[in-house]
């Protein structure tokens, strides 16, 4: 086996108690067929598909139940042949225990498949686009836990290195381990298909050194393949080396840029389970209707790796594992570091379900979220943080709701691996504080966007009203102007007429006055006395005239 000496390390990380031996020896066993399957429409990151079947309709195994036209989305398929008995809300696997749209199928136990036309070895001649379509239509999503639609990541632009992630760094989980041990050839075949799509130059299969059997099986398959395309890389067992960014750092010594993608540094990372599913889709034309799930922990009688059809109730699987032990205490979906607890087993297995850990009370020690000691700034969290954050500072600002500072300390680069909470001597539920802060900021962001939109709408309305008002005023003004013009003209005429009349009248008066000007009559042969009297009368008249004129 290869040594691990030539590889790089990421910052921090933990050495944990892995407890993988509980389920490690259990070979993959098919889960028994059940009466009823519940298929959530949304099992991936992105937009939910569109339901294309109806209640009462008979469906075949592998038939598409919900299709999708959106880019970041994935279809779901029927795991069995049978009848759709209901389409509606049903409780699904979610930390909040929420309900979501599900298609419920009654199994007819005929196991009748839809028509399948596998392309098989012909994929070598196919182009990337067509192959991506096959993967997309098979509903394949990242099975490492992120459930991001797989085909979207598989771009052929500038990707040199394909990393197949067989790390499985969470304690207890062994589903990928068993898959690699038992179906190494198929995993490599799937990796080869991805490599063909993205035109990769090399493919590195990364496995932690606590899984020597899986590594040996993969090595045998690589030797048989004999193409130089594949290379096995054993990496030291450190949590969380299975995290995409950390694994890329280990393998390539490069870091995925902040806010960037692995493609930015010419790599693509896919889980072994995803590679296997792609092999099934291409070689058997089987959509993703089953996955391997580890059922483990001291809370069930017999730990097992079951190949479970999507939609099977957890309770049915547990029954096949011999049921619960008396001290079953906490049921965790996923691993103990990043999983979430659920309080009922009446939930269907989905594409993301890699492990169901039913623990007894000795196995887990969740921190007390109500009361913890204050942070003493010891810095142990800084030592273990694989993102090189300052968890204690993040906590300080997150607990006081200082969103600005929290963002400055790169809250959104936290991968929520839980290393900081694990080592905290004050037992502070740090990850929970970060999740809360993130969702608070998201909510605020959404609120801000909403209020921005509302403000924009309000401002648009105001603007529209203003425009209308201005238009109306403009119209009125024009009207008024028009009226005024008309009115103004007639007034002018009137004034002119008046003026003319006045001058006319004045002229008439003048004329009259002129004609009426006093001409003395019979003034011949007047006596002096008479003349004096006339003179006096003239003077008086003049005086009165003057007086009047004044």
């Amino acid at each position: 086996m290869q040594s691990t000496t030539n590889i790089k390390h990421f910052h921090g990380g933990l050495h944990l108690d892995y407890h993988k031996e509980i389920s490690k020896q259990s070979a993959i066993t098919a889960c028994l067929p059940q009466q009823r399957y519940v298929i959530p429409v949304q099992q991936h990151i992105g937009v939910a598909g569109e339901i294309i079947v109806e209640k009462g309709q008979r469906v075949l195994k592998g038939q598409m139940l919900a299709s999708t036209k959106k880019l970041i989305s994935a279809p779901v398929h029927s795991p069995v042949s049978g009848t759709i008995v209901e389409i509606g809300k049903h409780a699904v696997l979610h930390p909040s225990g929420m309900e979501a749209d599900c298609i419920i199928i009654e199994n007819d136990f005929q196991d009748e498949w839809v028509e399948r036309n596998p392309v098989a070895e012909n994929y070598h001649q196919m182009n990337s686009h067509d192959l991506r379509n096959i993967i997309r239509n098979a509903g394949i999503v990242g099975l490492g836990g992120a459930v991001f639609p797989a085909a979207i990541k598989q771009t052929e632009i500038n990707i040199n290195t394909l990393i197949i992630n067989g790390i499985e760094c969470e304690p207890y989980i062994t589903c990928d381990d068993r898959l690699m041990q038992e179906r190494a050839k198929e995993v490599l075949s799937g990796a080869d298909i991805i490599g063909h799509i993205i035109k990769a130059r090399e493919c590195i299969i990364a496995i932690e050194d606590n899984k020597p059997e899986a590594a040996a099986a993969i090595q045998v398959a690589i030797d048989e393949d004999n193409t130089d395309f594949f290379r096995l890389q054993i990496v030291p067992t450190v949590y969380p080396s299975g995290s995409e960014k950390q694994l890329i750092k280990i393998i390539t010594d490069k870091e995925v840029p902040m806010n960037g993608l692995p493609a930015d540094i010419n790599t693509l990372c896919q889980n072994v389970g995803t590679a296997y599913a792609i092999h099934q889709a291409v070689f058997k034309d089987e959509p993703l209707i089953s996955r391997i799930v580890t059922f483990t922990g001291g809370g069930i009688h017999q730990a097992q790796n079951l190949e479970v059809l999507i939609g099977t109730y957890i309770a049915d699987c547990i029954e096949q594992c011999g049921g619960y032990t008396k001290d079953a205490y906490c049921m965790i979906m996923g691993g103990p570091m990043m999983g979430y607890s659920i309080n009922t087993d009446q939930l269907p297995v989905v594409k993301a379900s890699n492990c169901l850990l039913v623990s007894n009370s000795d196995e887990i020690h969740p921190v007390n979220t109500e009361a913890h000691m204050p942070c003493i700034r010891c810095g142990r969290c800084v030592e273990v943080c694989p993102s090189k954050l300052l968890p204690q500072q993040l906590y300080w600002h997150a607990s006081t709701g200082n969103h600005e500072r929290v963002a400055e300390y790169h809250l959104f680069d936290c991968i929520e691996c839980g290393c900081c909470s694990y080592v905290c001597p004050s037992q502070i539920p740090l990850v929970q504080y970060y999740r809360n802060a993130k969702s608070e900021i998201w909510a605020l962001e959404a609120d801000r966007k909403k209020s921005d939109a509302a403000r924009a709408r309000h401002e648009a309305r105001e603007h529209r009203l203003l425009l209308q008002k201005q238009e109306r005023e403009e119209r009125l003004r024009k009207k008024r102007e028009m009226l005024n013009e008309k009115k103004g003209k007639s007034e002018e005429n009137e004034i002119d007429a008046k003026k003319a009349a006045i001058t006319e009248a004045l002229a008439r008066v003048k004329k009259k006055k002129e004609t009426q000007a006093v001409t003395p009559k019979n003034t011949d042969n007047l006596t002096a006395d008479q003349e004096r009297q006339i003179k006096e009368a003239d003077q008086r008249r003049k005086a009165t005239e003057n007086k009047n004129n004044e």
Partner: protein, 349 residues
């Protein structure tokens, strides 16, 4: 079947603050025993006074603040403060001085800031500084260590000095007090005597030993060993002691080499006074120290430079308390500007 709900991660290292604090307390034991061995009953009496007053005032304030008293008292942090104070104070200080220092450390410097985890300054050092500034005369009440004298001061005399200010036979305490080696050197160098002649002086010579001061060197060696054990146990971070000791070593060596007659050697500085206690027990108090790796280097180095500066050119015999508190002030700034480069930052886009 219904199950308990909880939040990830569901497992943890089960470390706790109490065990950290108690490991610090255990680590303090050898050096404290050595201090008692060399300086006698006074250290023990100081320890009893400081511990009882610290615990009492902590309990009182916690009750006033309506906080759980017993869990907080049990965390051991008040005992550490008491222990550091008792070791820093001269063994013959009056009882009320220890009381004032303890109350100030716990009530003002710790609880008024919000208690454990919220204090900006090292409580013990704040308490020490308050009495150092207020009662400088009493703060010189050191005795000669065993080795320089043949036997301890009797319990009766020590008790009488601490509680009545005079020896049991009512005579002045001046006959039993003696300056520390570091203070002696400082005074003698100030009087134009060189180090060599002071070390061979008929009276003061007994205060010096082959490494540093009589008694002091063993106390320092024991604190160093306990400190290394704490680093191994991951109770304290190694960066602060390393950077502090390294900076003190480099700067003292620089001056000692340039003028060996007036500047004590680096070895003398490293094993004198409170150097090792500071390196592993005071400067490493995580609450008041820097929390970023780079910040811790700067913080430790800063204390080293300040300690040396105050020891050589300052007005006080030892500069630990002032150096630590001054660097405490710089912590928020250092933490802010020494954030590590996070994963993926400044990678080629």
């Amino acid at each position: 079947m219904l199950f308990r709900k909880a939040s990830a991660p569901f497992i943890n290292a089960q470390a706790n603050v109490h065990s950290i604090m108690y490991q610090v307390l255990y680590a303090l034991i050898p050096g404290t025993l050595a201090a008692i061995y060399f300086f006698g009953w006074g250290v023990l009496i100081n320890l009893v006074i400081a511990a009882s007053i610290c615990l009492l005032s902590e309990a009182l304030v916690l009750k006033l603040r309506a906080r759980p008293v017993s869990t907080s008292l049990k965390d051991g942090s008040a005992l550490i403060t008491a222990c550091l104070l008792a070791l820093a104070l001269p063994p013959l200080v009056p009882w009320w001085l220890t009381v004032i220092a303890s109350i100030f450390a716990i009530v003002i410097a710790k609880q008024l800031y919000g208690g454990l985890g919220f204090n900006l300054f090292n409580p013990a050092m704040v308490g020490y500084i308050v009495v150092m500034i207020s009662f400088p005369r009493e703060m010189t009440f050191w005795t000669a260590p065993l080795g320089a004298v043949d036997s301890w001061l009797s319990f009766g005399d020590t008790f009488s000095i601490i509680f009545h200010g005079v020896l049991a036979d009512q005579s002045s305490i001046d006959s039993v007090t003696m300056a520390t080696p570091m203070d002696t050197l400082k005074t003698q160098i100030g009087l134009e005597n060189d180090i060599e002649s002071t070390r061979n002086h008929e009276v003061y010579g007994a205060l010096f030993s082959n490494i540093s001061g009589t008694g002091w060197q063993w106390i320092n060696i024991l604190f160093l060993l306990s400190g290394l054990w704490m680093i191994k146990q991951k109770v304290i971070d190694w960066r602060i002691p390393v950077s502090f000791l390294l900076s003190l070593l480099l700067i003292s060596n620089f001056f000692a080499v340039s003028d060996y007659a007036s500047y004590p050697s680096a070895v003398f500085h490293l094993f004198s006074g409170g150097t090792m206690l500071c390196a592993f027990f005071i400067a490493t108090d995580p609450i008041s120290a820097c929390t970023t790796p780079k910040g811790r280097w700067i913080y430790g180095a800063g204390i080293g430079v300040l300690v040396y500066t105050i020891r050589n050119w300052g007005g006080y015999p030892d500069g630990i308390a002032f150096a630590v508190v001054l660097m405490n002030m710089a912590v928020p700034l250092l933490d802010y500007y020494t954030q590590p480069r996070i994963y993926g930052k400044n990678e080629v886009e």
